[in-house]
């Protein structure tokens, strides 16, 4: 049963290799991409239900006992994240069919997407810090290539910033891994959790913790380490931006959650939580202010990613079960809503001909139903009841009040006003105001020029993710109870440790 943990890594790998072998059969790539993503989804759900019913699954790869070999571990947190990665993978596979041009497809767009998902899943499932570094690199190199695929000037410019800052963070990660190994003599997360409290020489522990925080902070785009994100995320095709927006920054948040609950326990990481609390406030504010100023729809959404990360980090840094459950729900809700908004921005571009909100308008008059497709994720993100964002924010803010973090709770509340404002801005500019180019007639756009099938492939993921946002909102309680179970397990690392080490250590 435990071997099932391998599958979220093996399925994308095998698919990617198969695509590379059949390099000219682009049609087949599309089908394979969807099939592989659907299979991953089934496997992810199986892992999720297994962790929910029977606790932590762990696998010692190659039969080497922990802590000597590399462990793959699926606890509830990992399982939730793998489910989300499969959902976004499937939706993006569909959306890519409708939007990615054939040139990019010939230059290995589909295999790269699979390898990216493999890296993301690997980061979620590994139980070893050095292995986490390796999965980060797998993820990064695929994302580098996806980002520059097409070679437009702004893509290259954005990629320079993205690549440089991410490589810098990798170097810091590596240094932190080295120091930690020198101190504790192990890199297995469960083993580290046991050994770190017993260490005699603790002088460097804070340094290591801060180095890890910086590394994951860069990945998660936390203030003041986010500058690569708004410089690059709007440059590739929308399908790529969407999968980046949905998953990549959340890998950073996941790593922060994992590290500062499982590996470093409360006392060793007290300073980290303080820093994270402060920076979460700045992250929320700076992100949303950046968003409010933008007129390019994709840049506006990119800045929003940063602002939303602030909420998650705020919740993680509070460390109460309610806060962590809220942060998790926030992350799940945000992955869905954010990816969906990027999909919608691609649809708007295809309908109106531009991403720039100043140049377009009048979409609601011509396509009222598409307006609804935008409103669901937009209001969900802003936190209008009864959609998912409302509950996510409610729980996080409640946890903030319970912890007595009044200042940051006030910041979180006012930032959601600005979030709503910027969503209304998109609505007013793109959908509501009259088209500045004069009256347009429906049905003569880039969107209508592609075939029925491709249109369906664009609309289907938007509808699916929109439904998820609605379902999270209307049936909030069962999902939240699940998140509470996840949070309890996360804050109680004993079960994780016992599963990996077999109770020996």
């Amino acid at each position: 049963m435990n071997r099932i943990i391998m599958l979220p890594l093996l399925i994308p790998l095998v698919t990617a290799v198969a695509m590379l072998l059949l390099r000219n059969r682009v049609q087949l790539h599309r089908v394979l991409n969807v099939v592989s993503a659907a299979l991953s989804g089934v496997v992810a759900l199986a892992i999720f239900s297994a962790t929910m019913s029977s606790g932590v699954l762990s696998l010692q790869v190659g039969g080497w006992e922990a802590p000597f070999g590399i462990s793959l571990v699926a606890d509830r947190l990992s399982a939730v994240m793998v489910v989300m990665s499969a959902l976004i993978g499937l939706c993006t596979a569909l959306y890519s069919i409708g939007t990615i041009d054939e040139d990019r497809e010939h230059y290995f767009y589909h295999p790269l997407l699979q390898l990216l998902l493999m890296g993301v899943n690997g980061a979620f499932l590994t139980g070893d810090i050095f292995n986490l570094y390796v999965w980060f690199e797998v993820m990064l190199i695929s994302s580098f290539v996806l980002l520059v695929l097409g070679g437009l000037p702004q893509q290259l410019e954005g990629a320079i910033k993205y690549v440089t800052l991410n490589l810098l963070s990798s170097a810091i990660f590596l240094a932190a891994v080295g120091i930690l190994y020198g101190m504790a003599g192990t890199l297995n997360m469960a083993d580290l959790a046991v050994r770190i409290p017993l260490l005699e020489h603790r002088e460097l522990l804070t340094v290591v913790a801060v180095l890890f925080m910086i590394t994951f902070g860069v990945k998660a785009a936390v203030f003041p380490l986010f500058f690569w994100l708004p410089a690059s995320y709007h440059t590739p095709p929308v399908a790529v931006s969407a999968v980046f927006a949905g998953l990549l920054t959340k890998v950073g948040v996941y790593a922060i959650m994992r590290f500062f609950t499982t590996v470093f326990v409360r006392d060793d990481a007290a300073l980290i939580y303080d820093i994270l609390l402060w920076s979460s406030g700045f992250t929320m504010v700076v992100g949303v202010l950046g968003a409010v100023a933008q007129y390019d729809m994709r840049k506006l959404l990119s800045f929003h990613i940063i602002s939303q990360i602030g909420y998650m980090i705020f919740a993680v840094a509070l460390q109460s079960p309610l806060a962590v459950a809220g942060g998790l729900f926030y992350m799940v809700h945000n992955i869905v809503a954010k990816t969906n908004l990027f999909y919608v921005s691609g649809l708007v571009k295809r309908l109106a001909g531009s991403y720039c909100l100043r140049d377009i308008g009048g979409l609601y008059r011509l396509y009222p139903l598409f307006g609804l497709l935008f409103l669901v994720p937009a209001l969900g993100l802003a936190g209008i009841p009864p959609l998912s964002g409302f509950w996510a924010k409610l729980v996080v803010i409640r946890a903030g009040i319970e912890a007595g973090a009044w200042g940051l709770t006030a910041v979180a509340l006012s930032v959601s006003m600005l979030t709503l404002f910027s969503m209304i801005k998109i609505w007013n500019e793109a959908f509501w105001k009259d088209d500045p180019r004069g009256e347009q007639s429906a049905g003569r756009t880039e969107y209508h020029a592609i075939g029925r099938l491709k249109q369906g492939m664009i609309i289907a993921p938007i509808v699916v993710l929109g439904l998820v946002t609605v379902v999270f909102g209307f049936w909030f309680e069962p999902f939240f109870e699940m998140m509470m179970l996840v949070a309890e397990e996360l804050l109680e690392p004993a079960r994780y440790i016992r599963s990996v080490t077999g109770g020996v250590l």
């Binding site: 190199i141 810098l168 810091i172």
Partner: protein
């Protein structure tokens, strides 16, 4: 030996940090490479240096006795070097292509993706 390595690591970090703060893309690449090497050497040094004691189990013995060189840092560095090599190769090609496309290697001139469209800054 440890002291010497510590000095080298320090110099590499200093040089790397200085270089990635330069505006020229070529220097930034060198800076990134230096930082990668510094991290690798650091893993090697922090993992304790033990001279002339490979981690071999002697004939007839059931385990290692006495001090022995820990092979794990070397395995880590080997992996990191391979990954670093691939990533650096990609970076060099990316930077070259950027230079060809944009016609400049001054990073200060690459501001288009950060500016507001129509902005005056």
């Amino acid at each position: 030996m440890t002291f010497l390595l510590a000095v080298i690591i320090g110099v590499l970090y200093a040089a790397g940090t200085y270089l990635i703060l330069r505006r020229s893309m070529v220097k930034v690449i060198f800076g990134l490479i230096f930082l990668g090497h510094a991290a690798n050497l650091m893993i090697f040094t922090v993992g304790r240096l033990t001279k002339g004691a490979p981690a071999f189990v002697a004939e007839g013995a059931s385990g290692l006795t006495g001090a022995f060189a820990d092979p794990l840092p070397q395995a880590l560095i080997l992996t990191a070097i391979v990954i670093g090599f691939g990533v650096q190769a990609f970076t060099i090609v990316l930077f070259k292509r950027t230079y060809q496309t944009l016609g400049t290697e001054d990073l200060d001139e690459m501001r288009r993706t950060d500016q507001l469209p129509g902005g005056k800054s």
